[in-house]
Subunit: 605 residues, 2 copies
């Protein structure tokens, strides 16, 4: 998922897809590329290419890897939109399932580096050394030259933008969901089907982009335009296409260009007569269709840009329809339209707000942007979940929902572990044969360690069972690999452990039981698991509700959660069960408890 | 702390203090005012003024009140700096001890409302209906008209600003700490001392502000200045003061004005000759002194503005000293200086970055602002904790540190509860006399509820002790108040409970045992505590480290944490102890375990 091959495929694929003019953004692949690089750095290099830096292996633990991936994804957003603060907030609002203030600092640092590197490249390119890449600054769609004036009356069009944006966003999510399910069926049929699907979408896009401009009327160039008109070169705002001299084709201007330039053209302000409504309408309809059919083909793609394209066209159309009623510029309507559709589909607020601020560099627009975002999100939320949640659910990834479902409050974790196979525990000093047996026959990643017949310090009881902690599969495999065997049942000394295991080895998570060979003599020996056990696992009591256990899981960032009994008596096991991220997914719980699904749908109707 | 009286005192006090020209900001009081209003709304109105709205009482629970206070404080920052996104991030980075994505949405919503209201007032005032308040826009210190150009060579001055800013910030924190401890001693001596201290600081400020401008030389007005020069009116940038016609006194321009205008003047760009270095130096030294002696007197005050004033003067001085080496404007140097000192003292990054972006409206400055903030924070962190942590520690508030101390990893919660008095538990069906006794003789706010002699469903053991849950003091008092008594020991039915207690009553936290009268006949009766018990308390096992328990406490937002035994046997109590926020404060732990303090200081030397 985050390997070196993925990285290379994503880079090449993304360049090809964007260059082909497909209706997709580069931000999705960039986020993925950032995460891949971060993950590879965390592992100390790619597994299969034999270039490993030993010192980087210090980051090879769960927590640091997760942090690195969060940093990588925020750097990706930052690189895609040149929006450093927006990138930090994006990873805060969407990527990270848990959050610490140290992480905020780290993502901020990484996006700062990205911006400085970007700035340096822009500096070099502006001196004319990069050919066609030579233009552009730190702000992608600058609308700061528009004087923003609005009055109380403008609240009506602004509310309207928000409401329609929310409805369109919800509709987009709904239809995209259906399309993606269809595509999943097609893609599963084989590589040939995948290729054909991608090819046909690509051909359709190209045909539409080339042929549709013939539908538009030619417009005469206005000498007040700031740029040359018409243009025939590779770049330029007013494409001549099929028009006579002194005229330009406004639809060709939008379609026969990169996606970024198309957005820039639609956002262009103080140009109320540049586009005809019919051209913008054709553009809007085309990109609605392309936006629905392009995402999901076997090509690295991002969702931001398609939605911005759709939204800006819709916003500009609405601005045209408002005519003289409003005194907000059409370019700003396009910005607001893009923001509303983004919020209506993706349901982010703060990060979108900052990304739009950094994209457009117009701080005075902030109050209305905030209102539009809030209205669109609220309207969209009343229809369906966000596009990210829909995609995550389709892919079946164990991403824990931020909001527990209502029925989770009445289900206890005790009931949940009862529905699972009984928990497999190991003793503090365990026979090698049993460990090999457990590792071969289960796929669990953590096992509770119990000590029987101990005397608690209070001295009241004897023969108590002690929950010593949790041991990881990787550590059991490591102990087998290192032949950490004892002839007799005894507790080991600290120096023995320190001699045998380095902490870098303990941080690794890669051992496989199949790679371990144990002789039959060794099978009769013992292993002292105490020094390798995590004695401070997070626990919940069996009467805890699933909803609260989920909050704990998410907030503290867990992989295993031990369930302890609420009863205290001889003969009761000190651990009732063990829960993982997969166990707490709503879908998996509903499979085990079908009556909850019924009561849930019963409430709805 | 968040009452109606505090609210009124803060409003009047803050207006008076800012109007008197004291070196303090209005953002601190505004944050407090926002929190007060939020807290009062959450309670349904002030306690003692008999205006309670019943419907607002639905918010009267821990979680909603905390959320409301977070919203209130972000609204305060937003109102102070007209920085909505900065306000949200401020409360994310500094105020909230725990964070949920729903909270992000809510704070964003509240700051959006603040901005819209602000915008409406600005609209009204710009039409000239508010007298002196009639000027100003949504951006406080606009420097967007400066073309930002920087090259690789500028990395040296930028790094320098950051490093010096970090050192100055750390120094400021250190000295302010000493001053605050001195002030605490003075303030404790009585009201007269408090008043005298405030008065003398106030007189010193006024004398300095009036007399120091006489030290500065008069400067001739330059006809290229955009504003009238010299000015004698109430507002205006070039004060004539003691100078002949056609001249102005640059120090008077800075000192005889509001703090906001002083910042605006120092930030003013494209005016390299407006101020003399000596004037800025005098201003810097004066505000260093004032910044240290003003905060801590008995006046509502904020820290942002004093630090911005100091920092901007230092930045502008540095810019002047750089002379022709750099091509960054002096006004931008002032902005960067302010940012570096803020980061050096307060140690925030993302929220400061956004606040500065929203204050100055110069997006192109963002990359260097980020570098300066990161350097200054790193340098400052190597000296001492942030100014907020210093103040919180001085006030002894139970604010849990985000970063557990290293020695907390080796201490277990079991050891921590052993050092406390033994935990007081109640039975599921308890005698009234015992409850009254417990409530009168302890101040605890939560009690574990145990049931003895139950049979677990596994049927293995009988006579087990069950940890049923945790009951709150307020609920015990409520049960006594409502005379929820039973003649015999029996479990109650659900309808009985529902008839007796409404959930609004259960959400209240206000009952006092002194207000309850119980007859001696009632003393012999029983109460069934089961329906009032929270059966899903968060628990940790006794071998858990204090550091990890703290993470749990902070991330999930707890008030009580039950410690359960790791041993399972007859005769062991199913609850070992109970931990509160106060128990987990580093200071309180060190008092109970003095040897940890020694080992801690032992490591240092």
């Amino acid at each position: 998922m985050f390997g070196a091959t993925t990285l290379i495929v994503k880079i090449i694929g993304s360049i090809g897809a964007v260059a082909a003019g497909l209706d997709l953004g580069k931000e999705g692949p960039l986020v993925h590329i950032g995460s891949c690089i971060a993950s590879l750095l965390g592992q100390g290099g790619p597994d299969n290419h034999r270039i490993k830096w030993q010192w980087l292996r210090y980051f090879n633990n769960d927590r640091d890897r997760r942090d690195l991936i969060t940093c990588g994804s925020s750097s990706g957003v930052c690189a895609a939109f040149r929006a450093p603060v927006g990138g930090v907030l994006f990873s805060l609002e969407e990527v990270a399932t848990w959050w610490r203030s140290a992480l905020l600092w780290r993502t901020f640092f990484s996006t700062a580096i990205v911006v400085v590197v970007l700035r340096a490249f822009i500096e070099i390119c502006n001196s004319g050394k990069c050919g066609l890449f030579g233009t552009g600054g730190l702000i992608m769609f600058d609308v700061s030259n528009v004087p923003v004036r609005y009055h109380v009356m403008d609240i009506i069009p602004v509310t309207l933008i928000g409401i329609i944006g929310g409805i369109l966003g919800g509709l987009y999510n709904h239809i995209l969901h259906k399309v993606l399910r269809l595509y999943n069926l097609i893609n599963q049929k084989g590589k040939m089907h995948k290729l054909l699907l991608a090819l046909s979408v690509s051909v359709f896009t190209s045909v539409c982009q080339y042929c549709l401009p013939f539908l538009a009327d030619c417009k005469a160039c206005d000498p007040s335009f700031p740029e040359t008109c018409p243009t025939n070169g590779r770049s330029g705002n007013f494409k001549q296409f099929n028009c006579p001299n002194g005229h330009y084709n406004d639809l060709a201007t939008l379609l026969l260009t990169t996606n970024d330039d198309a957005v820039r053209n639609i956002f262009s302000s103080n140009t109320p007569t540049e586009f005809q409504p019919s051209s913008i309408l054709i553009f809007f309809i085309l990109y609605c269709i392309l936006g629905l059919i392009t995402f999901g083909i076997a090509v690295p793609s991002g969702l931001f840009l398609p939605i911005i394209l759709m939204g800006s066209a819709y916003g500009r159309l609405l601005g045209m329809a408002m005519g003289s009623y409003t005194n907000i510029d059409q370019g700003l309507y396009a910005v607001l339209g893009a923001a509303s559709l983004m919020a209506g589909s993706m349901r982010m607020t703060v990060s979108l707000c900052v990304i739009f601020l950094e994209l457009t560099n117009n701080l005075l627009l902030l109050p209305i942007t905030m209102i539009v975002l809030l209205i669109a999100k609220t309207v969209g939320d009343s229809f369906n979940p966000s596009i990210y949640e829909i995609i995550l659910e389709l892919k079946g990834l164990p991403f824990l929902d931020a909001h527990p479902e209502p029925w989770m409050r009445t289900l206890t974790v005790g009931e949940l572990v009862d529905a699972k196979p009984p928990v497999i525990t190991v003793s503090g000093i365990e026979k090698v044969s049993r460990i090999v047996d457990v590792l071969r026959n289960t796929t669990h990643n953590g096992f509770p360690v119990l000590d029987e017949g101990v005397v608690p310090p209070s001295g009241l009881a004897n023969g108590a069972t002690e929950l010593h902690g949790l041991i990881l599969r990787a550590h059991l495999v490591l102990a087998l690999k290192k032949k950490w065997f004892l002839q007799e049942k005894r507790r080991t000394e600290e120096w023995e452990v320190r001699e045998k295991f380095s902490w870098v080895e303990l941080a690794e998570r890669e051992g496989k039981i199949e790679e371990v060979a144990v002789t039959s003599a060794e099978m009769e020996m013992y292993i002292d698991l105490h020094p390798l056990t995590n004695t401070t696992p997070y626990t919940v009591i069996e009467s805890m509700s699933v909803a609260k256990a989920m909050v704990l899981f998410r907030q503290v960032g867990l992989r295993h959660l031990l369930v302890v009994p609420k009863y205290e008596a001889a003969g009761v096991s000190p651990v009732v069960g063990i829960l993982t991220r997969q166990d707490l997914r709503a879908f998996n719980i509903l499979t085990a408890f079908p009556h909850l699904e019924r009561s849930k749908s019963g409430q709805k109707h």
